[in-house]
């Protein structure tokens, strides 16, 4: 049971530059999304969300059927499908194939699934060069950091940070304009693309009826990663499945708009197997890694199963007031924000980071923008219940449980409730009109101390509503 990373959160909150970077970047993404979904920009965006939810629900409810259909169709096009139970198996497959095929250099496009399994770290450990080719991911690879955001991995880095990083690690002349910085990365990366033996991508969608892997991106690096090297591996979580190619008409409309406010990303690539006779480009060998790594465990619970609908657009992060304060690195896993708060406990077990689903005001902004309509606050509530039960079994959280048992006991007994409140009011010190800056030590129980650390406390009034109401009714009766 990991505790709340109190100090790390405090540091993030105290870092004005970082706060500004997070807040302004997410505000920009929110703003772009808002414009992209206006009625003038697209017909019936809310209807598309409902449709996307229905398709994902159907796909996840029939996961076995569609995954086998996908496998047949990928194989029919000459690709190979590798089923991996967990991260270890997926990593092992990549390592082994790299060894067998004499791979020296790998280019990678942005993929949260490979971040999830720490693929780069494993490859580097095996002395295989791996290069991230998405600009944001490349920056993070140079900085040895994990993504700060699902869609904008280097969201927390300003262009000045990037200028420092490039000068230091690439030994190039300092440039502060993003365009120039892109040129610097491009020069390095082009060389890597041309000389790489293996390209690794993720997958945005796996299309069962056509055996296609769909990738959306803006930089063209995923297309290069999947076409320049002689071998390609696409690594995907098995929840990325959608039944039919025509479903993309729904998903491509909601994904770009929700993520970056784009009607469509600059590149949308459909990968279907290796190069065939007569084709002039594409890899000679194509592998699709279908990874479970805990996903099928989520199928068991009908209510929380919807967590698997996620298409990783990042809209819930941008709109989350908690993410916007604590940023991406204070979450325990690579998946941050509201979606991270609901999937991390389900993948890792609810007692690993039991604080995480509680780090939410349940404001519901995430559910309001989710393109596949995952009811995130509802899943958070369900997880909170799971966590208190699990803690009870392990004998943890005793004081909180006692507190709520007492709460429940008192709230079912109106007379006792009134007595308790009268007592609480009578021990309260000081004036009744001024809010309290502090309280005597004896009264500063942890929740009250937490409150007082940020704000003043309202003094209990001399009389409760019910007491005033009685008097008012008596006065009326007397008239």
């Amino acid at each position: 049971m990991n505790p709340i990373p109190v100090d790390a959160i405090k540091n993030t909150l105290a870092d004005a530059r970082l706060q500004n970077a997070i807040y302004s970047s997410t505000a920009r993404l929110m703003d772009k999304r808002a414009h992209a979904i206006e009625p003038g920009a697209i017909d019936d965006f809310q209807g598309l969300r409902t449709q996307a939810n229905a398709i994902k629900r159907h796909a996840i409810d029939n996961l076995d059927y569609y995954l086998e259909e996908l496998e047949r169709n990928v194989m029919a096009r000459g690709g190979k499908v590798v089923w991996c139970r967990d991260a270890g198996e997926a990593v092992q497959f990549v390592l082994q194939l790299s060894r067998e095929k004499g791979v020296k250099r790998i280019v990678k496009s942005k993929s949260m699934t490979t971040e999830e399994i720490d693929l780069n770290e494993h490859l580097e450990h095996a002395q295989i060069e791996v290069v991230e080719t998405d600009l944001g991911e490349y920056i993070l690879q140079l900085a040895h950091e994990k993504p700060y955001h699902i869609v904008a991995p280097a969201l927390h880095k300003t262009r000045y940070d990037v200028a420092d990083l490039f000068t230091e690690t690439l030994k190039v002349e300092r440039v502060e304009e993003p365009e120039q910085q892109t040129q610097v990365a491009r020069r390095v990366l082009r060389e890597k693309f041309i000389t790489a033996d293996l390209g690794i991508t993720g997958a945005n969608f796996l299309v069962a009826d056509s055996g296609a892997i769909v990738l959306v991106e803006n930089e063209g690096n995923a297309r290069l990663s999947s076409s320049a090297p002689r071998i390609q591996i696409a690594i995907a979580g098995l929840e990325k499945i959608i039944p039919r190619a025509q479903d993309l008409a729904t998903f491509l409309k909601v994904l770009g708009r929700s993520a970056t406010g784009q009607p469509l990303t600059v590149y949308t690539s459909f990968l279907s197997g290796p190069r065939r006779g007569g084709e002039i480009d594409g890899p000679e060998e194509f592998y699709l890694v279908l990874m479970d790594n805990g996903r099928t465990r989520l199928l068991a619970d009908e209510g929380k199963r919807q967590s698997l609908y996620c298409i990783r657009c990042g809209a819930c992060l941008n709109h989350c007031p908690v993410y916007r304060k604590i940023g991406g690195h204070n979450y325990p896993w690579v998946y941050s924000g509201p979606i991270g708060a609901i999937i991390s406990p389900q993948f890792h077990g609810v007692t690993q980071d039991p604080w995480l689903p509680f780090a939410s005001s349940l404001c519901g902004a995430c559910a309001e923008v989710c393109p596949v309509k995952i009811d995130i606050p509802q899943v958070l509530l369900d997880l909170r219940s799971d966590i208190t039960q699990a803690k009870r079994k392990e004998g943890a959280g005793k004081w909180e449980h006692r507190g709520f048992r007492l709460f429940s006991y008192v709230m079912r007994r109106p007379k006792l409730y009134e007595m308790a409140s009268a007592m609480a009011a009578s021990v309260f010190p000081g004036s009744r009109d001024k809010w309290l800056r502090t309280l005597p030590r004896l009264l500063r129980l942890p929740p009250i101390a937490g409150w007082l650390s940020q704000r003043d406390l309202p003094p209990p009034p001399e009389r409760s509503f019910r007491s005033l109401w009685r008097e008012r009714q008596r006065a009326k009766g007397g008239n």
Binding site: K325, A359, F407, M411, R455, D456, R463
Partner: protein, 240 residues
């Protein structure tokens, strides 16, 4: 005479009784006869949101006992209305006998402003409040109950009142029940963002339909000595 039942919520009962009295004044002026069941306490939301469902269920059952009847139940809170109007169903989903009672009671629950706009069908209550105000959309009212236009419509008819919208009207104030004390720094930061946006409007008062949000904001206002004052919609509508 039309009757209504008040559920004033524990926070109004214990900390902000004036809000309950103001709500009663408004309803009485409209000709409603008010019933205040004295057995009422809390809706159970603190336990429910903290994951203690058994404890919440006990409180909810007490609520169901207390509020049997057929008059509308009027509540000066979006959050507590959402709890007894929406979430009780989750607490009793495996208990068909209770579910029938939940349905009967939940369907009678109305947040105060919604009661005025949708049941009483009034918007001008003859109130006067000569101040520039901004309206804070509380999250549960906005997103669970879909209340957005109603309170603004009611405010637009108040004499002397100028409504200035803030840019972050739909952002959470950071209260979130026990969240505010478990993650005080984050909660306080959220309140700060909200108050910065409010200060930019130049308003002197923040109006909301939830006393819990207002307690969070007023707590920071008081701590920092900001030139702002929080006020519940019921108090605005009751003022002459």
């Amino acid at each position: 005479m039309l009757r209504v039942t008040l559920f004033v919520t524990c926070i109004v009962d214990q900390l902000f009784p004036k809000v309950g009295l103001a709500m009663a004044d408004v309803l009485e002026r409209l000709g409603y006869q008010i019933d205040f069941p004295e057995a009422q306490t809390c809706c159970g939301q603190p336990a429910f949101n903290s994951g203690f469902r058994d404890e919440a269920r006990g409180v909810a059952r007490h609520f169901l006992d207390t509020f049997e009847g057929d008059a509308p139940i009027v509540v000066p809170s979006g959050s507590c209305s959402a709890m007894c109007g929406h979430h009780y169903a989750e607490l009793f989903q495996d208990d068909p006998a209770q579910m029938a009672r939940v349905k009967a009671v939940s369907s009678r629950v109305y947040e105060f402003s919604r009661f005025l706009t949708d049941v009483a069908r009034v918007d001008d209550l003859g109130a006067s409040f000569p101040h520039t105000v901004t309206y804070h959309d509380s999250c549960h009212a906005l997103r669970e109950l879909k209340i957005k236009a109603g309170p603004r419509q009611l405010l637009s008819k108040v004499r002397g009142l100028t409504l200035k919208e803030m840019d972050a009207a739909e952002e959470c104030c950071g209260f979130g029940g026990t969240f505010s004390v478990k993650f005080p720094g984050v909660s306080g930061g959220m309140a700060q963002t909200k108050l910065d946006s409010i200060l930019r409007t130049g308003a002197s008062h923040i109006v909301s339909i939830d006393s819990s949000c207002l307690m969070q904001l007023q707590g920071v206002i008081s701590r920092q000595g900001l030139p702002l004052q929080t006020v519940h919609l019921a108090e605005v509508l009751a003022s002459r």
